[in-house]
């Protein structure tokens, strides 16, 4: 009923190939964008910005980066957090060496560094596959975190070994550092995440995306039909690491404000991998759904007992929280192993033919 497609005729190939062949999808996206751009920022409190809106967007972007590599090109990676770290440290060095630099430009440029490192660590993927490649990326994870600790130049020889985000201005408004207001940071994050998501949707639907999918599904067959595997795999590593690097720079500059090397250790890699898997590998929207589940839900669950007036200790809440989120993950994976994006796809298909299923 809501999703009735009757009467929506396509008269050209462009219309048939459009991103949203069904009007309702475009309408839904419009509503979500309206919420994200107007409603949330106007109504959100400082707490909502800092614990829900900004982190969910940043984690979604990081998962999107990983999804390009793992979901679209089929190259398993466990080094996401380290590549985020490269982006964050690159951005920090650029900002401190060149304080006149526009922060958004610096954040977007910092991805270039992680793309370079990503390609370097992606070279083994030409020879090794699957779990073995995962081990190779794991090496990147350990090596880079070690480097962040030992190479004092990266953190400007700070005694504590941590990087601290300075106050950065853009057109007279603070966009990062302690003086920046959450709403400004939110809009910066939303702009960059939106931009990169748009780029990714188009990339994955285009020639390059098809090359990646062919590589993922069967690399020998892809080679036989004339796809250059080296190019395909390395571009996947480059694009993925670029996005992950930008996510890392946003992570530190727009949200955390300070970072120590072990922040970029393997638990963060796993967290992002979980978001990508639970959201759905090979999907763009899934990353957002996954991030809402993994990042947003625990925060909301933590607030529940207080809001309902149930008097339980915060440590107990934390224990319960871990159990609930854990079992939800298991539940969703059993119900739909292909992730939340697939779940939504099925719901949508059912809605389209409802109330007359064949």
């Amino acid at each position: 009923m809501l999703y009735r497609t009757a009467g929506q005729f396509k008269t050209s190939y462009e219309a048939d190939q459009a991103l949203f062949p069904i009007k309702q999808d475009a309408f839904l996206l419009g509503v979500i964008l309206l919420l994200a751009v107007v409603v949330f920022p106007l109504t959100a409190s400082e707490f909502t910005f800092q614990t829900l809106l900004i982190p969910i967007l940043i984690y979604s972007l990081a998962a999107l980066g990983l999804n390009i590599l793992t979901g679209f090109a089929g190259q398993l990676s466990l080094g996401t957090a380290a590549f985020m770290g490269v982006g964050a440290y690159a951005c920090y060095k650029m900002i401190t060496l060149m304080p006149w630099m526009n922060p958004i430009v610096a954040i977007l440029l910092s991805g270039v560094f992680s793309a370079g490192i990503g390609v370097a660590f992606g070279i083994p993927s030409l020879r090794i596959k699957g779990f073995y490649l995962a081990i190779a990326t794991l090496a990147a994870q350990f090596f880079l975190v070690w480097l962040f600790e030992k190479w004092a130049w990266l953190y400007n020889y700070n005694a504590s070994g941590a990087i601290q985000v300075p106050n950065l201005e853009m057109f007279g408004v603070y966009v990062s550092g302690p003086q920046a207001s959450s709403i400004v940071q939110y809009y910066v994050v939303l702009f960059i995440v939106g931009l990169l998501t748009w780029v990714c949707i188009n990339l994955t639907r285009g020639n390059l995306g098809r090359t990646w999918k062919a590589t993922r599904d069967m690399d020998i067959a892809a080679e036989l039909i004339g796809i250059n595997l080296m190019k395909s795999k390395l571009t996947a590593f480059a694009v993925s690491s670029y996005i992950v690097g930008v996510a890392g720079a946003l992570f530190v500059f727009m949200w955390r404000g300070a970072a120590e090397p072990n922040l970029f250790d393997i638990p963060l890699s796993f967290r992002i991998l979980f978001i990508a898997i639970i959201g759905g590998l090979g999907s763009v929207m899934g990353n957002y759904l996954g991030a809402i589940l993994i990042v947003g839900l625990p925060v909301v669950l933590n607030l529940l007992p207080n809001a309902l007036g149930i008097p339980i200790g915060s440590a107990t809440v934390e224990h319960l929280n871990i159990m609930i989120v854990g079992s939800l993950i298991v539940f969703f994976l059993i119900v739909e192993p292909h992730g939340l994006a697939q779940l939504w796809r099925l719901i949508r298909e059912k809605l389209i033919i409802w109330p007359f299923p064949h």
Partner: protein, 430 residues
């Protein structure tokens, strides 16, 4: 319509009275960690803190006639959760207690904007002692640099240090690196060799590589800046390699009874510098027993209550309570604000008499804070493990603050510059 207006008025009145009822307490949230990898050390500290404030609430009806709401917000020692807790509590909090160096690093730059005092007793960024720059941060009664200085003083009292070697076994983390500048400076002044040996976060439980290095180096002393699982790892490893325990000294966070109970008698002689001491005969312990433990409001147990960390939790809450009391006296109101509490924390005067009056006899050394001195530099005692518990083995040691005051000023200025615009307190007399 009339009915609706009535309802609306009733709701508004209820809202106002509820608001007033809410304000009848001081909200001093604690970003606790009773879960996660460091829970073993967190639980006794949090229990000590909570029990002291519960005791004040039960015995005196709070502080200055107003109840204290020391709600805990669980962080599991995770920075991410810590920031979540900070954002959640900062609306009505008059103080924030971040509890981890990572969370302190995140919260510190925001304090000038949010204007909430940070109370980080005995941890955090050492240059925080410079109150003119760090207007909102307090690490009374002692900072890490005080600890480093007192350890070297104690070692000097055991014999001349020139030509000796001190190995510095530390967590490779902002916390562990904190005292290095002061040790290096003293190594230059006093002519001993200072060898930092970092322990990575992943190697905390397995330090065989580090102890092999120590065995090869044959240092005269091992000074340890460890935390959580690292302490137990280092102590068991030291016992295994037969390092003379009496030459091993830890900072106050490396003096946890449970870590030493594992090795028992073999750990005899291990020392830890501390600004707090669990004096079981102190009147406050009896009061806590009477008002909190016997009332069934404590989460602690007998063994834990005899430990150093539980006693330290009590002292931390007592410092906070003193700050609140000082602010209440100055502003003549029980319901103080965050800014007023800042004044209070700057004007703590813990004299020997006051300590006795509070019933904390022998649990903390006298100290006083001022607007430019946010640490107080109480000094402390060298504690030694006698096989079953920690005992005092030194007189009251006082840090020689003058020797690193300049360093603190430089570091504070560097911090302010890196975080510009960073307002400093210009009307700070002294």
């Amino acid at each position: 319509m009339k009915h609706f207006t009535k309802l609306a008025i009733a709701a508004a009145v209820a809202g106002v009275t509820a608001g007033a009822a809410m304000a009848q307490e001081l909200y001093t949230p604690n970003l606790a960690y009773r879960t996660g990898p460091f829970a073993a050390t967190g639980i006794p500290l949090m229990n000590g803190q909570a029990d002291y404030l519960n005791m004040l609430n039960a015995r005196d009806g709070g502080i200055g006639g107003i109840m204290i709401n020391a709600e805990e917000c669980e962080t599991g020692y995770s920075t991410e959760k810590g920031v979540e807790c900070y954002e959640k509590t900062k609306g009505k909090a008059i103080v924030t207690q971040p509890w981890s160096t990572g969370i302190t690093l995140q919260v510190l730059p925001k304090t000038n904007v949010d204007e909430i005092p940070i109370l980080a007793p005995g941890y955090g960024f050492s240059p925080m002692m410079e109150g003119t720059t760090f207007q909102w941060a307090f690490n009374a009664p002692s900072g890490y640099w005080d600890g480093a200085d007192m350890i070297v003083q104690y070692l000097e009292s055991q014999g001349d240090l020139s030509g000796k070697t001190i190995a510095f076994l530390h967590l490779d983390h902002p916390y562990g690196k904190e005292p290095i500048p002061v040790f290096e400076k003293m190594a230059g002044d006093k002519g001993f060799t200072f060898e930092p040996i970092p322990v990575g976060l992943k190697e905390m439980q397995n330090q065989s590589a580090q102890w092999l290095q120590i065995r090869r180096m044959r240092p005269d002393y091992v000074v340890m800046w460890g935390w959580g699982a690292m302490n137990a790892g280092a102590i068991t490893e030291a016992v295994k390699t037969k390092f003379p325990m009496e030459n091993m000294i830890g900072v106050w966070w490396s003096g946890h009874d449970a870590d030493l109970a594992i090795v028992g008698d073999k750990g005899k002689g291990y020392k830890s510098i501390s600004w707090s001491f669990p004096n079981m005969d102190a009147p406050v312990m009896a009061d806590i027993k009477k008002h909190v433990v016997d009332a069934g409001k404590s989460q602690s147990n007998d063994t834990e209550m005899q430990g150093v960390f539980y006693g330290r939790g009590i002292v931390i809450s007592a410092v906070l309570a003193e700050g609140i009391a000082a602010a209440q006296a100055e502003y003549g109101t029980a319901e103080i604000t965050a800014a007023q509490l800042r004044w209070g924390l700057e004007n703590i005067n813990m004299t020997e008499e006051r300590i006795n009056e509070l019933g904390l006899t022998g649990m903390v050394a006298p100290f006083s804070t001022s607007c430019s001195n946010h640490t107080g530099h109480s000094g402390g005692w060298m504690l030694e493990w006698d096989g079953a518990k920690f005992v005092k083995v030194s007189d009251h040691l006082t840090p020689n603050v003058a020797s690193y005051q300049e360093l603190a000023n430089t570091k504070a200025a560097e911090y302010a510059e890196a975080n510009a615009p960073w307002p400093t307190n210009e009307n700070c007399g002294g």
